[in-house]
């Protein structure tokens, strides 16, 4: 029996009607705050002919204009800031691989509410102040480490701020200090599991009881695998830098979708083509509106993640709406080893390096790590008669891609015109990872 099942019981189990009322009140205020303090969004609203007075509650949400990642890049760095800098205490940032970084600002209030969200996730995974929480997400600009770290403090766990990598040290601290909760990316959890197994640990001798894994897509199969290897229950967590970080939504013991922290985030599903709001249960693009952020409030931010929202009574007692695991992306972005990669970036590198933009990306997952291969047609002018000459070209192209993307691909040069030119849309990406089935 768990003595403490919620971090903020009153809010997490609030009757749905009350949640909607609370959201309506907060939305009116948030829209007013944004309109008054963010000229960039005010202009978007003015262009659409919407005034803050037109927003009476969540039923009017659809009147507001969308924000996209492109807006965030245009407005970099201060364009969407809604508070003076002297009231902000922190920034976090995306990896910036798609061009300009997105920088998110936080007041102390914003950090508090973000950490509350993470604390709810930890408690939902069974965390209490008796637990030792090993945070193996990266610390720094990446939101994973700092967010979970703050949540872990709020729950009262003994927090191990490990950051990512250094597997030997992770294992040493885990086993010496009896870590009971592990927080990291699912692929790293799987890797740690393998390393522990190699060292002779079994699910019974690994001290962990739960894991909170997110920041990259993973399958139900991978969950089973991790659960079996580590002898834990593995919980999914979702978030994005733009909205705060991890903890926008999280799984409870039912493991059937992630409860969205609806007192802070208002979720919609839209048709990615038309922007039309779709009814509950439809598959579409997830859109978030922050409800009580001070420094970096975003109204109707399009996440590009495709998923489904459902509000069915949950056995855990939480009333907040659940989102499915993202089933894909509404654009052609790939997430490879946790890094966002766009095909257009590959094209840019090829053109810069004197190649035709004829390529094929092959993604697979081997031993729970993404493999990333790019086949590129050899430029006849660069063809040499030695193997060393060709492999040097491959290496130099791989390096150029690494510089642009932040991750290392394996480049294969292939014969000119050998990459299938299908009529119409070329098959540029072959993803064998089966993440969304």
């Amino acid at each position: 029996m768990q003595e403490k099942r919620y971090y903020q019981k009153e809010i997490e189990t609030m009757p749905v009607e009350d949640i909607k009322k609370l959201q309506s009140e907060k939305l009116v205020k948030q829209v007013k705050h944004v309109y008054e303090n963010v000229p960039y969004y005010r202009e978007l609203m003015d262009k659409k002919g919407v005034k803050p007075e037109d927003i009476h509650g969540i039923e009017d949400l659809h009147l507001l204009p969308f924000l996209t990642k492109a807006d965030l890049r245009d407005a970099y760095p201060y364009g969407l800031l809604a508070k003076p800098l002297n009231e902000c205490v922190r920034i976090q940032s995306t990896s910036g691989t798609t061009g300009r970084r997105v920088v998110a600002f936080y007041t102390q209030h914003d950090i508090d509410l973000w950490e509350d969200c993470c604390a709810r996730a930890i408690v939902a995974a069974g965390g209490t102040n008796e637990d030792v929480c090993q945070v193996a997400y990266g610390y720094g600009l990446f939101t994973g480490g700092p967010g979970i770290n703050g949540g872990s403090h709020k729950v009262g766990c003994l927090t191990l701020p490990m950051s990512s990598g250094n597997t030997e040290r992770q294992i040493q601290f885990m086993t010496d200090l009896n870590a009971t909760i592990l927080c990291c990316t699912p692929s790293y959890a799987a890797y740690l599991g393998e390393s522990l197994t190699e060292k002779g640990y079994t699910p019974n001798t690994i001290p962990l009881k739960a894991g909170i894994f997110g920041a990259e897509p993973w399958t139900e199969e991978m969950r089973q695998n991790i659960q079996n290897t580590l002898g834990i229950k593995a919980y999914d967590i979702y978030g994005l830098t733009e909205t705060s970080g991890p903890g926008v939504s999280f799984e409870c013991e039912e493991q059937t979708g992630m409860h969205i922290n609806e007192d802070h985030f208002l979720a919609e599903i839209i048709d990615p083509e038309t922007g039309e709001v779709l009814p509950e249960g439809s598959k579409g693009e997830l859109v978030f509106t922050s409800l009580d952020k001070e420094a970096f409030p975003l109204l109707r931010y399009r996440t590009r993640d495709i998923c489904v929202l459902t509000r069915k009574p949950c056995s855990c007692g939480r009333t907040h709406i659940k989102m499915s695991k993202p089933m894909g992306r509404s654009d052609d972005m790939m997430i490879i080893r946790g890094v966002n990669v766009f095909p257009s970036q590959i094209e840019t590198v090829l053109l810069n390096e004197g190649y035709q933009p004829n390529y094929q990306i092959v993604l697979d997952r081997v031993n729970n790590t993404d493999t990333f291969e790019v086949n590129v047609e050899l430029n006849p002018e660069q063809f040499t008669d030695t193997v060393g000459g060709i492999t040097a070209l491959e290496k130099s192209l791989a390096n150029a891609m690494k510089t642009m993307l932040g991750i290392n691909p394996t480049v294969h040069l292939v014969a000119p015109k050998s990459i299938t030119r299908s009529e119409g849309k070329a098959v540029r990406i072959i993803d064998k990872r089966k993440l969304h089935d």
């Binding site: 050899l378 063809f383 008669d385 193997v387 060393g388 040069l413 292939v414 014969a415």
Partner: protein
């Protein structure tokens, strides 16, 4: 002076070599010597043929990535130690070698070595100075 080698990029796909040799046969091109350097993903086929122009044209028409590479052809006696002597000449003159392959003559008591070196002219000069006879495309066509 130098000898021309045909260099073809071949993907590791079944039937590629058959297709190349069939194409050459159809156009009456005789292969004198060949060598393949291969990796897991691709191979580089090097050919010495009796009719470079035809081979180049037909293989290019078939869609192969093909180019000519200048190499050094040396005639050496068909006896132990002869190749070693030629290679020593290169070594003593500090000429780096990328690869080599050899073939026999049908009629004469000679072998021919195809050398791909960093500096063709230096290699040719050094070899001739030591009394080696170099072969050209015209010689190969007559073989």
């Amino acid at each position: 002076m130098s000898l021309k080698q045909l260099t073809v990029f071949v993907e590791n796909k079944q039937g590629t070599l058959v297709d190349i040799t069939d194409t050459l046969a159809r156009h009456n091109v005789n292969i004198r010597a060949l060598s393949i350097a291969d990796t897991q993903d691709f191979g580089i086929l090097r050919l010495i043929v009796n009719d470079n122009a035809t081979a180049l044209k037909t293989l290019a028409e078939e869609g192969y990535l093909i180019k000519t590479t200048d190499v050094v052809g040396v005639k050496i006696g068909d006896a132990p130690g002869k190749l070693s002597k030629a290679l020593n000449v290169l070594d003593q003159n500090g000429i780096n070698m990328e690869y080599l392959y050899a073939f026999m003559s049908r009629t004469e008591k000679h072998a021919y070595v195809v050398l791909r070196v960093a500096d063709n002219l230096a290699a040719e000069t050094a070899l001739e100075k030591e009394g080696f006879h170099l072969i050209t495309d015209a010689d190969v066509a007559k073989l």
